[in-house]
């Protein structure tokens, strides 16, 4: 085996880096940047889920924006809709006392009674689960780009439904989504006082999902997914139920998108129809491609960085154009993503500096080996 950082150490280093960031920003008097950073961490969760579908199961989903919106909107609708309107309902008295509900004031100071964010969260996840299965089941039985086409259409339908429905606020979206008390003294909220706390909630969630996915792709299931990506027929002939695995990967990543949607909606206290737009979904695909698709680290890093730059407004009004160009550039110039060729270049440079007889243990591995293992090198160099 070649030398590389143990995964545990890589995660510790990443966690340390995430912890240090707020103090650096405070020192530089740029603490306001934390807000956009928190948001891009949540978006990174969507792209991380997409990485499982694209990089491992070998399918393309152009509907992850819609799953994000399903999560966000379900949560927003349920936590802003006043249940006390149905005064006649006999169970209202009971439900008022129960932990499923939350009495609060709306934006104009009127008392309202809504479902609690936890109930809304589970409802959102359940809805995303059902919808992902309904889309994925037929589409993944077919070979080729059917999932991409099905999800593209699905995303557009969701977008139009949101725009045309009164209770989703049509083009205005939904405002006044309450903060989400997670328990343990943690609250998902956009309040200035809770900025650092929320940054840590987002980075903690991202880190947790990263660890889970990291373990998943290195398990028997992960090997099966890579085999499907490589040669579906052969994987099938090896006894792998390819259709089922592709569906599971797709549903899991849809759930991650919906989860990010719920958290971000509570964080920004609202959601708009643009989240479900086709361009948003294309952007997620572009970000996954930019990170190298099958490299969990690369995808997390690139997606956080680029989304952060976009949210800071660095691309101005060319925002969507930048992501479109990025996708075109990657597809035509560096199909493995820009990080892997960079890592290879760096490796060659390091190799050139070394005396020729002192070759490392990985000398047996030919240098022109296919790309995925090069990503291990990426992981080694940039944990």
């Amino acid at each position: 085996m070649k030398p590389r950082l143990k995964p545990g150490l890589s995660f510790t280093l990443l966690a340390a880096a995430l912890i240090v960031v707020p103090w650096i920003l405070r020192w530089a008097d740029m603490e306001y940047c934390l807000t956009q950073l928190t948001m891009s961490l949540y978006y990174a969760i969507v792209v991380l889920g997409l990485c499982l579908v694209m990089g491992y199961a070998g399918q393309v989903s152009l509907g992850h924006g819609a799953f994000f919106a399903i999560g966000g909107y379900t949560s927003a609708v349920l936590t802003t809709c006043d249940v006390s309107k149905w005064q006649t309902a006999a169970w209202l008295g009971w439900i008022k006392q129960s932990p499923f509900c939350m009495a609060r004031e709306d934006l104009f100071g009127n008392p309202i009674l809504t479902l609690s964010p936890w109930v809304a969260f589970f409802a959102a996840m359940a809805l995303a689960f059902v919808v992902a299965n309904l889309i994925g089941y037929p589409a993944l039985r077919l070979r080729g780009h059917y999932l991409a086409m099905a999800t593209l259409g699905f995303g557009m339908i969701v977008n139009k439904v949101i725009l045309g429905t009164a209770f989703t606020g049509a083009a205005d979206g939904i405002n006044g989504v309450p903060e989400w008390n997670l328990g343990l003294g943690l609250t998902v909220s956009g309040k200035r006082a809770l900025r650092i706390e929320n940054y840590f909630i987002a980075s903690g969630l991202l880190l947790l999902l990263l660890v889970l996915l990291h373990n998943l792709v290195r398990s028997r299931v992960g090997r099966a997914l890579q085999a499907i990506h490589d040669r579906e027929t052969a994987a099938n002939a090896m006894g792998i139920n390819t259709a089922l695995y592709k569906l599971k990967a797709f549903v899991l990543s849809a759930l991650m998108a919906a989860m990010a949607g719920v958290f971000l909606t509570h964080y920004t206290a609202g959601i708009g129809p643009s989240e479900a737009g086709a361009l948003k979904s294309v952007r997620y695909v572009a970000l996954a491609a930019a990170g190298g698709m099958s490299s969990l680290w690369g995808v997390t890093g690139m997606s956080t960085l680029l989304n952060y730059m976009s949210l800071r407004g660095l691309f101005g009004s060319y925002d969507n154009a930048v992501f479109g160009l990025l996708l075109i550039g990657i597809v035509s110039l560096a199909p493995e993503g820009p990080l892997k060729p960079l890592a290879r270049l760096l490796r060659r440079f390091v190799g050139a500096c070394r005396p020729p007889n002192a070759v490392g243990p990985d000398a047996a591995r030919p240098d022109n080996g296919p790309a995925r293992r090069a990503s291990d090198q990426t992981q080694c160099l940039f944990p």
């Binding site: 890579q226 085999a227 052969a234 994987a235 090896m238 006894g239 792998i240 293992r373």
Partner: protein, 239 residues
Amino acid sequence: MLLQVKNLRCGYGSLEVVHGISLHVCAGEIVGLLGANGAGKTSLLKSVVGLLQPWQGEIHVDGRPTRGQAAWRSISHSMVLVPEGKMIFADLTVRENLLIGGYRNPDRAMQIEIVFDRFPLLRERASQLGGTLSGGEQQMLALGRALMARPKILLLDEPSLGLAPLMVKEVFTEIVRMRDQGLTVLLVEQNVTATLQVADRAYVMETGDIILEGNAADLMHNPEVKRAYLGKGAKEIWE
């Protein structure tokens, strides 16, 4: 009888490629299935394992009917297909390739050692990527990967494809060795001489039908085999 196929018909779209074929493979045999390009050999094999849905006919593996089952289930019927063109997982290491082969075998950790003992070369290359092996090594890996599932019957689709003659010999020697240790093999091939040298019995296919069958030694001298490859007018042209 380990594998029995009765009156199997299959095809693509509305085009029938295999017109009602029957064949059988007994335990401990190497059975060759010969035929020129486009004779329907691969399609037949695909529908036997379920990669292609048969239109009609019966398939029994080890006495159990398997027709209509998904391909991934056929592994649990102790039958493994080594697909045409080896189909190595290029981005996985040799060890991972083997582990995928033992996907439905709970003892895969033990089985991998058996396979490594059988193909010492694979042990040497265990952490190398499948795609970086040479053609012959890839064929060995494909065989080793198939053995990971501990099959009773192995279906080999053109194992000599794209190999140097010396390597073909080595692969075929390996097939005989596996047969001698109790494995049953259905060998689909274009390479007539090499196949008939190692096979016990053989079938010859031409445009979707079996036109000849018999002992390998008899078929070796049968001019009809040559004719099946060269076409109907072969006699007039070549004699």
